[in-house]
Symmetry: C2
Subunit: 415 residues, 2 copies
């Protein structure tokens, strides 16, 4: 294998040619990627079987094995996702309004690729295809540094992507897979801000914190989703119950699931018995503050560590709060800047919640589960940012571009 | 002085109250800052005299002394700049279009402050007032860590700003001045991504590289302005000459000044003699490639280190290139992603230059000197970013905000 430096340089060297491709050419290549994934399905599954056997022998967790496992249906879903990406609007479309300056200069901001984007992820081979297609469609080269557990799967998927790029006349080096079984390259990669423009880590919080702590390349971060539902004094109880059940139980392992319920003290005596019964019926373990315990049965006492905790499981923390200010204070202290929900019929309370809550999505009278690129109309997402620089919330194709200024003149000079 | 941790926490603690201020309240505080700068002019000049005396005793460079020096006119200019900031549109205005999702959810992206912004800068006391006003108007708290040479000046300016904040009912901790004469706090500051959202370093390249290498907080970077003018085969000679003279000589010490001239070989025999004569007449030292030397007199031979060099002086590198592709290649290799200019009457050449040059501003038939927040209509700028994440080019008030998603529902849940 080429040294890291040579591989990063090779990826970067493809950028000028990528800039010359039309949107139609880029979309044709993405569709060819989908076709090659289907055509090479057997080879990908064979490689995946090798990874699965090694992971089983190493007694990895069932959750990891599930993320690692591919089958025909999952590869078909991956191919379909790429075909969808090919139908999305061109993120490099030059449709910004032009402004005329007093001196006659015409100025506008035009989308441009970010350059070389490195994805650092764990045992999800689907990220390999998804991220490659999204980066490529936005005119970027990508460096894919996946987890060692998926190395054979990633190599097989990359072979399919490279075949597609080759047959559409594009240098396959623009999708550079970095095989790094011993984590020997990661540290060096994170220092190369001369060759890499952005790092997007996807995986557990430990991985992301490691990347943030050691990278000199900008990092788009997503640590946790500790999402709260605040049931206001002016809540509509039936609606709040629906949001609570959907937010907590529809898919408890994802980042936009609810982890904590905050209930206004005035409505708690009416709402909490309903909520507790509905959640217990659905097998949710409840951990409540003292006031919660006084209003319903079968709840264990919450400890300090239950506030701000991402359970990713059928567990919910519950706290009764004095008022909206107390709810805002709790969210400021324990929230994760991901998704926060209010249920209220009081327009002023909703307006304050929207203005004062610092989260990538602030949701009024709807489920937390809607903080998702597809649900918000982005078509596809490469991740959700809970840091605020460059992107905040789901990142679609547009978030993989920047905007450069273009100035059109007729000889103007500055006096 | 409070410990760093306590100071950062105090600054951060002001954020909820800042979020509740109306645009009119924020603007009134910025105008009060201007008034206090005028009212405390004598105290600021006295403090500045202490700094100047120390810098003279330490035999600092004339350039540093000039940046450090304040006088009544400079303080008046600073006050006027703040009054201008107060007149600019509110960066937190909620005017984004709302989109209706198929399930009836109404979604939009609303500007929100970034949070706590730390400025790390050198001996420019004007940055203290300017940055504080810009950050504050966008709803952010700021931490101002200026150079030790300006510490008395910065403290005096901060006292004026704090008086203005206090008299308009705002906690002065939202403008937190960090006195760090021995650079003891900087290292610790750059690790506090739990309390600080963004670092903006302003100053020499060494300072910026140090911050990028050690910060775990996102950094907006601006290393250098190595700006090229490419005179195409289809250039208009008189116009190109005007752009060249304005770009090189109107203010050679700034980042959007020209550092290198690239001339298409077909037009070089006609253009270079004119250009060389005009530049020599204005005292510009010229360093040319071999082909340049063959076409004009009085030019020294350029060495490899002259390409990609930010002279910040009346010195210009000149290279004759075979064609547009060679010019693009030179800019890719030696450019600094700041400002690049083409002079050409050929629409295709201009379109390729605009598309393929990776710079915060790509300028067609106008001077490089227009890459400036004021000239582009931003009203005021806090810096120019040559990194592409979050902002690329001049950063105005809007670049000091992020956009959070707001979802308005009527009980929608995800199925």
């Amino acid at each position: 294998m080429m040294a890291l430096d040579a591989r990063l340089r090779a990826a970067r060297a493809t950028l000028p040619a990528l800039l010359r491709l039309s949107a139609a050419q880029r979309d044709a290549s993405v569709r060819a990627m989908a076709a090659q994934l289907r055509a090479q399905c057997a080879a990908i599954l064979a490689a995946n079987a090798v990874d699965l056997a090694a992971a089983q022998a190493a007694q990895r967790t069932p959750a990891l094995l599930d993320r690692l496992r591919l089958d025909e249906a999952r590869i078909e879903a991956l191919a379909k996702a790429l075909e969808t990406i090919a139908t999305l609007p061109d993120p490099l479309r030059d449709d910004a309004p032009e402004r005329l300056r007093p001196n006659g200069l015409r100025v506008r901001q035009v989308p441009a690729p970010l350059g070389v984007i490195a994805m650092v992820y764990e045992a999800r081979p689907n990220v390999t295809a998804d991220a490659a297609a999204l980066c490529f469609k936005a005119g970027n080269a990508c460096v894919l540094r996946g987890g060692s557990e998926a190395r054979h799967s990633n190599a097989a998927i990359a072979a399919a992507l490279h075949a597609a790029l080759g047959e559409t006349g594009i240098d396959p080096a623009c999708v550079m897979v970095l095989d790094d079984p011993d984590r020997q390259l990661l540290g060096a990669l994170l220092q190369r801000d001369d060759l890499v423009d952005l790092i997007i880590p996807r995986g557990g919080e430990a991985l992301i914190r490691h990347v943030v702590a050691t990278s000199r390349i900008p990092v788009i971060r997503h640590y946790q989703g500790v999402c709260h539902l605040y049931v206001d004094r002016a809540a509509e109880l039936e609606r709040a119950l629906r949001l609570l059940i959907n937010g907590k139980t529809s898919r408890p392992g994802v980042c936009n699931a609810l982890e904590c319920l905050l209930v206004h003290a005035d409505i708690a005596p009416r709402f909490l018995p309903l909520a507790v019964a509905a959640l217990q019926e659905r097998g949710v373990e409840l951990r409540g503050c003292e006031r919660t315990l006084a209003l319903a049965d079968g709840i264990t006492a919450a400890s300090e560590s239950d506030w701000g905790r991402e359970f990713l499981d059928l567990i919910l923390a519950i706290r009764v709060v004095d008022d909206l200010d107390s709810a805002l204070e709790h969210i400021r202290r324990y929230g994760s800047n991901h998704t926060e929900v209010i249920d209220s019929a009081d327009a002023d309370a909703c307006a304050r919640f929207v203005r004062e809550v610092d989260a990538s999505a602030v949701v009024v009278n709807a489920s937390s589960r809607f903080n998702d690129g597809g649900e918000l109309g982005l078509g596809a997402e490469i991740g959700i940012a809970t840091s605020k620089l460059h992107a905040y919330g789901p990142m679609g194709l547009d978030a993989l571009t920047c905007r450069k200024w273009v100035l059109l003149g007729e000889g103007q000079v500055r006096t």
